[in-house]
């Protein structure tokens, strides 16, 4: 378990090796390695939308990788983030001795636009190695919530992509049957998003006559 990405046969399925093979095998494919800082060291590959299906097919049919088993598909929500940082800036300040350069601390706010992400965990049943992790990111969390569907490549993505559509609102282009899967059809929200607000419920408490101030007690007091 020390290095899960290298299989006993010796095929290197680390993110870097997969990236190299993808760039060579799928012309025009842009793949970036996303580092993972945790001790698990499961690094992943960020793919571009246009070549995602092609790259996935390539990985599935590659003689050495044979990533025929797409185990886990999930959505992740990354809302807009405002980062406040303090930066030291040199400014020309008017002093009593005339203009002078001075170090001034300034707070700068930068808005990092949010996006939705899908993560695919791939394994190989034939070669028994993995995981290889693919990521796809949408342009934004509003209208640009479209991603290519990988269901035509791996059938196992069918229900899991529907779930990501239902709970995160990611629209998968090319999915054969994209409907809500867990919530009912008329439901309008995407509850797994970080900014989802559950319906406010007036918390009625059962009037069992035991609590002080309940109807039974008031009746008793009136007699």
């Amino acid at each position: 378990m020390s290095s899960p990405s290298i299989d006993p046969v010796g095929v290197d399925v680390s993110a870097e090796a997969i990236r190299a093979a993808l760039v060579k095998g799928v012309p025009g494919c842009e793949a970036t390695v996303v580092e993972n800082g945790s001790p698990s060291a499961q690094h992943s590959l960020l793919l571009d939308h246009e070549h995602a299906v092609e790259a996935a097919t390539f990985l599935r049919d590659h003689a050495e990788f044979r990533l025929d088993f797409c185990s886990n598909v999930t959505g992740v929500d990354w809302p807009d983030k405002e980062v406040t940082e303090k930066v030291k800036v040199t400014k020309v300040v008017d002093g009593p001795d005339g203009p002078k350069e001075q170090q001034v601390e300034e707070t700068r706010k930068t808005l990092i636009p949010g996006y939705l992400e899908t993560v695919y965990h791939l394994f190989s049943m034939e070669k028994k190695h993995g995981p290889v992790i693919l990521r796809l990111r949408t342009a934004n969390r509003g209208e640009g919530n479209h991603l290519p569907s990988l269901t035509p490549v791996w059938r196992s993505a069918e229900f899991q992509e529907r779930e990501a559509f239902d709970l995160f609102g990611i629209v998968f282009d090319g999915h054969p049957d994209l409907r809500r899967i867990l919530m009912w059809e008329d439901f309008t929200d995407h509850p797994m998003r970080k900014d989802y607000v559950p319906p406010e419920e007036d918390e009625p408490v059962m009037d069992d006559g035991c609590a002080p101030g309940s109807s039974a007690e008031q009746g008793a007091a009136g007699q």
Binding site: N36, S38, P39, F69, N72, W154, R155, R180, I181, P191
Partner: protein
């Protein structure tokens, strides 16, 4: 599977007999242009005795045969992932119990394994053995309950389920003795288990494990070679190998289709590489193979249990330096998976450096095993759909989470 060829022979004999009486035989009811039949839409579930919980299938029927089947989920969607994302890492363990409520111990293990990967926690030797013992006891009771339910679906009302639950209760007694709860054990912790097993408990477990092979024998003797069982299961709900791999089917169902993929062997998580056990494989991928897979896996579980109970060392069950409460993993992510009795149970965690997971995802084996339910059921009769669904082994707590 020698029983199969026997059955085929007898089926031919039966056909000839029937042919003498009914002329063309049994298969003349196929719809043709002259006898046009109406398509009937039926919703099986969510309240139906054979859907194993609140599962619903929207079925289109041509006569008695299924021409379309769409599963409908969400009737037990109780927001496990959202709740876990708003809670501390430790607080999610009791919720994992309620995922697949027949096997809480393996669910605990899947989650604990993912967190151990995320944080980098080492597990003491004795704990590894205890985990294996718990997981295999869980697997045994899950499979025995499943076989009972499956046979109940086929009309063997009562008896097999009674037998299965008799044995299950004994295993639940062991769980209760060690964890305090029959079903929701909440027993595993990051880098350990909650409390150590006493020597008396281990002795009792040894005695029970010694009796288990007799139970499996009895169970098998009760049904092996039963003509009704074979007629109802052989050649029904066939899942071809390629489709099983593409659809991400895992667990006994995948192995029934002949794919040798057991995560205990592939990942060798825990200490499974120390035990000698075989991975049973089917050849036809039908309901009968799936049924036999469970029976054979029960035997392998007993073999693992015997070895683990013999070799279990003394020692601590938890490193006191391991932080269990108030865990704050570094920014990063981890995917941990185990071979649960249903298939690959995976947990995907993203940490943003705070007390609660930023993303908490359960990879449910049951939901993904249902992807190909329609493919298996097309052309079958309604009664066979019930049996096919039973052989998938679903628990709605895990399908909908």
């Amino acid at each position: 599977m020698s029983g199969k060829s026997m059955m085929e022979e007898s089926a031919i004999g039966l056909d000839e007999q029937m042919g003498a009486t009914y002329g063309a035989g049994r298969h003349t009811l196929k719809p043709d242009a002259e006898h046009e039949s109406q398509i009937l839409e039926v919703a099986i579930g969510p309240q139906h005795p054979s859907t194993h919980g609140v599962f619903r299938m929207d079925v289109q029927l041509d006569g008695e045969r299924v021409v379309r089947l769409k599963p409908v989920f969400g009737y037990l969607h109780r927001n496990h992932e959202k709740i876990a994302e708003n809670a501390a890492y430790l607080a999610a363990i009791p919720y994992t119990d309620r995922l697949d409520y027949l096997c809480s111990m393996t669910n605990n293990w899947g989650y604990v394994l993912a967190v151990e990967k995320l944080v980098g926690i080492a597990v003491p030797e004795r704990t590894e053995y205890i985990r294996v013992i718990m997981a295999e006891l869980t697997r045994f009771q899950n499979h025995s309950a499943l076989v009972g339910f499956l046979l109940q679906d086929m009309g063997a009302s009562g008896t097999p389920l009674m037998y299965a639950f008799r044995e299950r209760e004994k295993i639940l007694d062991l769980f209760e003795a060690v964890s305090g709860a029959r079903m929701m054990c909440n027993y595993l912790r990051f880098g350990g288990v909650r409390v150590d097993c006493t020597p008396e408990w281990l002795e009792e477990t040894r005695q029970l494990v010694g009796r288990l092979p007799r139970f499996v024998d009895e169970f098998e003797r009760l049904l092996r070679g039963n003509e009704i069982l074979m007629a109802r299961t052989q050649g029904v709900g066939v899942l071809p190998r390629e489709l099983a791999v593409s659809a991400g089917v895992t667990g006994p169902m995948l192995r029934a289709s002949g794919v040798n993929y057991d995560i205990r062997k592939v990942d060798r998580y825990g200490i499974y590489d120390r035990f000698k056990f075989r991975v049973p494989l089917g050849e036809h991928g039908d309901v009968y193979d799936r049924y036999m897979m469970r029976v054979l896996e029960m035997r392998e579980s007993i073999a693992i249990l015997e070895q683990a109970l013999k070799e279990i060392p003394d020692g601590p069950v938890q490193d006191p330096k391991t932080k269990v409460r108030g865990l704050r993993p570094k920014v990063g992510e981890a995917y941990g998976r185990i071979e649960s009795p249903k298939g690959e149970l995976g947990f995907y965690l993203i940490s943003d450096g705070t007390m609660n997971p930023y993303r908490y995802r359960v990879r449910p084996p049951c939901l993904i095993n249902l992807t190909i339910l329609e493919d298996m059921c097309l052309g079958l009769s309604v009664a066979d759909v019930v049996v096919t669904l039973g052989s998938v082994d679903i628990v709605m707590g895990e399908v909908d989470r």
